[in-house]
Assembly symmetry: none
DNA sequence: GCTTTTCGTTTAATATCTTAGACGATCTAA
DNA sequence: TTAGATCGTCTAAGATATTAAACGAAAAGC
């Protein structure tokens, strides 16, 4: 665990002015269980933790979202972004050279026949969308997949895994936008 | 449990395109454990659930806060783009109908010959850019002016006054992006 | 056709969690 | 001082979760 579950539960319980026994009674568990959890001597089952939180009451989502303060900027161009290098098969022509301080990245993309952004699907914290200009492009986002033709468009949260492939036999052109820039 | 833990985990896992075994390997648990959890035949210990989510990766907070609402539309056929402010001379076809919560607006624009966004130049707090697909477009930004042709592109801070005009005798097409949405 | 791989599931054995109950410490009231 | 109440902790026994291995089904290669 990357956080102190026991301390978190204890803090929440004491904030409510509840004793271990009182909370245990409300939750339908024994006081010993709560004691052990608060000492981090066991890793409670979800059913137990849920019962305990119901006795406070507090949702699991709220419990885990506690005290997290300003969300750390994870996912920040962290992985796979350059793996797109389907090599010569895919070319990106970026509008503008310096992305520093920008909130928006615009690309004119060209996918050669058979070009593929890769099997390990891309993930980055942003939103992106685009319009297909020429050719056909198969786009997979999460468990949804569709082949888009000229004039068709897409838009999705970039955190869901996605993949682009040109399944046709002619080059495919796309103008895409992404915010914030991920390259 | 007031929600289907097993189904939630399965949905998250499959959205990543991971098999039970692949995820188990990443998480440091056995595939059987994941199978049993997804069938709700056990209530996993928090340590186990944490390990599993680390293999995705996803935080506990995000997992329990997962949006169970309807999934947003991702793909848009060429006839499904939303017509905006459709003057006869200029048509804006927006990717996606609902901008609420979005950080990015993408438009497929068409300027008829002679079309003009107006003498009183536009100003809004955002950044925007685009790529010209067909025809020619005169763009004025502040005291700079230029005529762009197919493949040419632009990018500027929307707070500086700007104006678009199609001076040619054929229609002009542009794909543009703007953040945050200004309509 | 056949083999090989991968998929999710199941089961017996093991590891871990939860309970019931007891323990000492602390506080209050008689 | 004493008895009673309440606190958090601890431990053995029972309940549950996890593992390791095997299973049949389905897809992929040959």
């Amino acid at each position: 665990m990357d956080f102190d579950l026991g301390a978190r539960l204890r803090a929440v319980r004491e904030l409510q002015g509840l004793s271990q026994r009182e909370l245990a009674k409300r939750a339908g568990v024994t006081n010993g269980t709560i004691s052990l959890i608060e000492q981090n001597r066991v890793s409670p089952s979800l059913s137990s933790l849920k019962k305990v939180l119901d006795g406070i009451p507090m949702s699991l989502a709220d419990f885990f979202a506690l005290n997290t303060g300003p969300r750390p900027k994870i996912f920040f161009g962290r992985d796979e972004l350059l793996e797109i290098g389907g090599g010569a098969a895919i070319s990106y022509r970026q509008v503008g050279h310096d992305l520093a301080g920008r909130g928006l990245q615009i690309l004119h993309e060209r996918y050669a026949p058979g070009a593929d952004t890769g099997k390990a699907m891309l993930r980055h914290a942003a939103e992106e969308g685009g319009v297909v200009l020429k050719g056909e492009l198969e786009i997979t986002v999460g468990d949804q997949r569709r082949v888009l033709g000229p004039g068709d468009a897409y838009y999705f949260d970039s955190r869901t895994p996605h993949r682009f492939r040109n399944l046709g036999d002619e080059p495919c052109e796309v103008v895409s936008a992404c915010t914030p820039p991920s390259f």
